[in-house]
Symmetry: C2
Subunit: 207 residues, 2 copies
DNA sequence: CTGTGTGAAGGCTTTCACAGCC
DNA sequence: GGCTGTGAAAGCCTTCACACAG
């Protein structure tokens, strides 16, 4: 459990997925699951699942499987309570506004607490529950509320400079939707979601 | 060029990224670029870029670099003209509607030609240019227009069954936004974008 | 001297095979 | 018999080191 730094990133990704599968099992009243069943729900091989779990301990019962509640709790602990972090959204344009309305985040324990845009008053498609502030209020807000995570959905041409501002203000993790590479200091983590690249990739695999 | 099947998936992803960087260089009037410069723009190491290119040939001039136009054309060819494929969107809810309005796709050569929803008439946040049809028209549309790619943005509980319908109707590639694993035949490719998992993953890396 | 192309080395993940426990 | 835990093997991808071309 203290070897946190040594769990590979890919395993961390899968832990989130296992976690979600476990929650569904729990909702269905199951209290035990085998690595085989759980791995199938998650779309991986059972050996992979067991190896992933082995990074932080032994929680299964041979001949039986894993206790759903126990395993779920352990994974939650490994992933960290940091998941209750507040998140801000920068760039409330087309995609950004949509993300504000998307409630898939809340379900998993995240909440977008504020959004920022160059023009907070431009007409938005959706009635939003989240306040939209002027772009130049970002640094103040981040420092005041100790925000560490940001979702970036601004146009390519200003993505890097906005990212720099975020980092300077104390942001440590960025979920980047702008289709461009962001250069950040080592202590900052960036995960990029590039929709066009995903599509292009798919098209390659069409015969 | 004919060893298409042997280019690793990760390389294919990066080719899309290189392609975009090359287009920007071309727009700026540059006609030559070194592997070092291009790799930095793409956020990878220069050796990686050269290895990626080596999968399908030799296009550089030693001591000078690559011709922007040439390299761009070659990558386009490798990725396949399949990128001009029409794409349909299934599930025009919150996230789905947003994707319809997002024009990042068109820029890269994709066009969402139609959308489908259980209730095509429910109020949409945005004025959409794309027609929304009833869910039960999907198979007909796919067969009629020879559509091969679909974006799936439906609720978890029906994702698998909708995916099955798509596959049966002839879809070969799915960009999946539903946070669940999709089981599909081998000839079908699925790329998943799981926003909650991305956030959770980021939160792990916050100290 | 600059910058590509590439065999070899290294590192990281996944899978196998099977020992060990219920 | 069923299922976990794990060292060893295999596979995959990245990086190094350097030969070679302009």
């Amino acid at each position: 459990m203290n070897a946190k730094a040594e769990i590979p990133r890919k395993t961390i990704y899968r832990l989130s997925i296992y976690q979600r599968c476990l929650q569904r099992l729990a909702d269905n009243g199951q209290d035990t699951v085998s690595s085989d069943a759980l791995s199938k729900a998650a779309g991986v091989k059972s050996t992979q699942l067991r190896k992933d779990i082995a990074y932080f301990g032994q929680f299964g019962t041979r001949g039986l499987g894993y206790n759903v509640q126990t395993l779920s709790s352990v994974i939650t602990e490994v992933l960290g309570t940091a998941r209750l972090q507040p998140v801000i959204l920068v760039g409330a344009g087309n995609l950004g506004s949509a993300l504000l309305g998307y409630n898939g985040f809340n379900k998993e324990g995240f909440e977008i607490t504020a959004a920022f845009d160059l023009d907070p008053d431009r007409p938005r498609p959706v009635a939003l529950k989240v306040p939209i502030y002027r772009h130049d209020k970002i640094a103040e807000f981040i420092k005041l509320h100790g925000v560490k995570m940001a979702i970036l959905a601004v146009p390519v041409h200003c993505a890097q400079s906005v990212a720099n501002d975020l980092v300077d203000a104390g942001i440590q993790a960025i979920l980047n939707f702008s289709p461009t590479f962001l250069e950040v200091p080592e202590h900052v983590t960036v995960n990029s979601v590039d929709l066009a690249v995903e599509l292009e990739n798919l098209s390659y695999f069409i015969r």
